[in-house]
């Protein structure tokens, strides 16, 4: 165990996997060992899926999102870093730009938790955590 909890930024794939599978992502997210932060873009994506594709009611979806152990940063917070983030990530996948903007905005975080290869382009700037690595910390 680290002496202080890590502050880790979470992408959609990891967060959604933690919800729909009882796998490693689920174990890490609900371990209570770290502080997880994400963008409202990621939360909107998850809400859209569970309402439109999974048939959950909007109220139920909102309740679920509110109960997740994740701090949600609003798009207002990251908008000044969007262009810089787009330069880093935009060519790979624009849907990941808000999370990179969050990484550029929050001082002193410990990296990004993602299993997505697109985040390899920011490895020089931020630590990119794999799920198994976080289980060992």
């Amino acid at each position: 165990m680290a002496s202080r909890p890590l502050v880790v930024l979470v992408d959609t794939t990891v967060l959604y996997s933690a919800i729909v599978y009882r796998g490693l992502e689920n174990r890490v997210l609900f371990s209570g060992n770290h502080i997880f932060v994400t963008t409202d873009f990621v939360i909107s994506e998850i809400q859209r899926i569970i309402v439109t594709k999974r048939g959950l009611g909007r109220r139920e979806a909102r309740r679920m999102v509110r109960s997740m152990p994740v701090v949600v940063a609003s798009s207002d917070l990251i908008k000044t870093k969007l262009e810089e983030a787009d330069e880093l990530m935009g060519k790979r996948d624009r849907s990941d730009v808000p999370l990179v903007a969050l990484a550029l905005t929050i001082p002193g975080h410990d990296g990004i938790w993602s299993t997505d290869k697109d985040f390899e382009v920011v490895k020089g700037r931020f630590k990119v955590w794999k799920t198994r690595e976080l289980l060992k910390v």
């Binding site: 959609t12 794939t13 959604y16 996997s17 919800i19 729909v20 599978y21 009882r22 689920n26 873009f41 909107s44 994506e45 998850i46 859209r48 899926i49 569970i50 594709k53 999974r54 959950l56 139920e60 309740r63 679920m64 509110r66 109960s67 997740m68 798009s75 908008k79 969007l82 262009e83 787009d86 996948d93 624009r94 849907s95 730009v97 808000p98």
Partner: protein, 88 residues
Amino acid sequence: MASKLLLNLPGKDSERIEMLVEAGEYASKSEFIRFAIKQALYSEERIGELKAITSKLQKQTKSRKHVREEIEWAKAGTRKAVAGMLKQ
């Protein structure tokens, strides 16, 4: 109906609660304990709700491929939104 509880607290915790009461954060040690219990019960309730919903979603999950398709579908909306924000 109210009920009384007798608690055994580690000395350090008890001292910290006393300091908070002295600082005026809580009216008494009892008020602190009532607040802490309310917080814990609220958090348990939310965890229960979350477990019920995630369990429903886990039962619906067909395959990794299906989940990847769902995510890809949702990300298309974000790409448009980000492109719009960058134009502004």
